[in-house]
Subunit: 367 residues, 2 copies
Amino acid sequence: EHHHHIAVLAGDGIGPEVMAEALKVLDAVSAKFGFTVSRKEAFVGGAGIDHCGKALPEETIRACEEADAVLFGSVGGPKWEHLPANEQPERGALLPLRKHFGLYANLRPGVCLPALTHASPIKNELIEGGFDILCVRELTGGLYFGQPRFREEEGDDEVVVDTMRYHKSEMVRIAKVAFEAARGRRKRVTSVDKANVLTNSLLWRETMTEVARDYPDVELLHMYVDNAAMQLVRNPRQFDVLVTENLFGDILSDEMAMICGSLGMLPSASLCQGAKDNGLFFGLYEPSGGSAPDIAGKGIANPIAQILSLSMLLRYSLGEKKAADAIDSAVRSVIDQGYRTGDLATGAAGEIRVNTAEMGNAVVAAL
Amino acid sequence: EHHHHIAVLAGDGIGPEVMAEALKVLDAVSAKFGFTVSRKEAFVGGAGIDHCGKALPEETIRACEEADAVLFGSVGGPKWEHLPANEQPERGALLPLRKHFGLYANLRPGVCLPALTHASPIKNELIEGGFDILCVRELTGGLYFGQPRFREEEGDDEVVVDTMRYHKSEMVRIAKVAFEAARGRRKRVTSVDKANVLTNSLLWRETMTEVARDYPDVELLHMYVDNAAMQLVRNPRQFDVLVTENLFGDILSDEMAMICGSLGMLPSASLCQGAKDNGLFFGLYEPSGGSAPDIAGKGIANPIAQILSLSMLLRYSLGEKKAADAIDSAVRSVIDQGYRTGDLATGAAGEIRVNTAEMGNAVVAAL
Ligand SMILES: CC(C)[C@H](C(=O)O)[C@@H](O)C(=O)O
Ligand SMILES: CC(C)[C@H](C(=O)O)[C@@H](O)C(=O)O
């Protein structure tokens, strides 16, 4: 019950630096809340290519299979950009991991803390008091994996096809994740589709409406994807939980992250049903931002996204809710105290400029 | 040579009000620059449904076929929202018009004038001096029209399919529109795709690169769609011409429009090659914003998007470049003079609050 096992895939760029801070925090919360977590480290992304010849080595897959959850850093960098898309660190590691483990639910909190609205590109008066969105993206269906996909000569021309394919059952399970999450929040789900054009979206809309009947306490709204792209900019505070299919979620969750203003603060979780029937998920947890090769190795990256990814892991995969809550409050408290890595600093009075390790230490101290 | 003929489809909501101002401006420029434009009015959208039983009546199609170009207002409103998606004003008029006339190139200027940066949701310091993007969206391919598209029982489950299908020739012709446009601007094309996931995007990227060889004076950049959704928010000034496929263009052009801050200022053109080999297009020209039923009939809507749609029509379909230039400068000048409809007004000193007709008159006076 109180022993867990995770795989740790730090990856490339700032991955190892911010991972070190998350593991410090893990040590602190496990001591404090009386559980143990054994860890198996493995190579992934560019590190996988360099050490084992591919972005997702077999032994890394095995390490993940043996774990209750995967704590992931970030992958990619200029060193591997000459490789074919399929073999590059991001594409070559993330898509196969999602597919292999059936990680169908991508949860991305889009939180802009009241103290950090200055970092958002949106005018302060539109986001006063900050905002808190949860984007739930379907992660294993649609255009990403749909067959057929091909290129073909056609006379003097060439034709190319990708297929947006979904099963209703895939829509039902992601809807449930969204409604369950909304229950623990402000009880509003905005489902995003393109029902005025896509057959997929007609079934999506019907399915969301059906699942909503089991959640009479949660409000369901429908929004076209083009409108959602506008509303996120105009008034992000209108959203509680956003739920959408794979490609729309790719676009909107990144737009949302940018609107929060501090990519270095945003974690994410990619989940599937766990092996045991205990309400826990198997999952891969990673910062929303990239590997930031430009600042890698300098010890200045913001470790909070990685630390909050750990918190999601504790909550969704290990069931260590108290430890997760403690990390979340510790993070809010260090921000309120004024601790700022370079990405968040404005030079305002009261700010305490810190590097990666100092930010990690501050979170540990606040626990 | 100097006589033209257009179809005028005012549509619903604020459509007729703002159209009246555009036609005033048309009278003024045709007198000034010595050409004539005969006009045939026809019903479309909700007005089509109410008067002729469908959103796109046959006689409206005929009126468009007989014209050199179509000046379109806006369609839709709560009155028709109970109808099936296919029959609703927007879906039922716009998609069939695009398909019938093969309007493959959608041009949407995303201009934020220096005097109007306050209206943008983006922080002033990120958009100082305004910005000027041209979004070129492929409009007749991809998921919008691709076959097969179907729903089907599959045991206890249901499967749904839409198809993203493109011909290389469709990519070539939209690329040319983008590169030609960039030549008359800041000579930079950003092509947006999802080449790390979609087969379509691989061909898209290759094709853009190929076409770029004929435009050595224009710079070509590639960007993933999720990143583009972020960059538009973070730094819209980096873009000159954006070119992308149908669905990505739907999402990004609306996001871009919202970032400009004043939907009431933004025109659009949907073009296909004209019948004569004179470099002119046949096209449909309409404001980017919607029919705004909440303010319809009050005479307070901003007519500038409709007036600038007329300017695009004069430029791309009638070849009346001087008249188009004159309208564009007149619009800039009324904004600089401080004329503001309600959507633009802030109450700042120097602003002259005007209604729809007064704004139209101000543009005519500035000509
Ligand atoms: C790397 C890429 C395939 C991936 C995606 O599109 O899903 C990334 O953009 C993401 O959102 O995790
Ligand atoms: C009404 C709808 C079908 C249309 C589209 O998606 O193309 C609209 O959103 C647009 O962008 O003109």
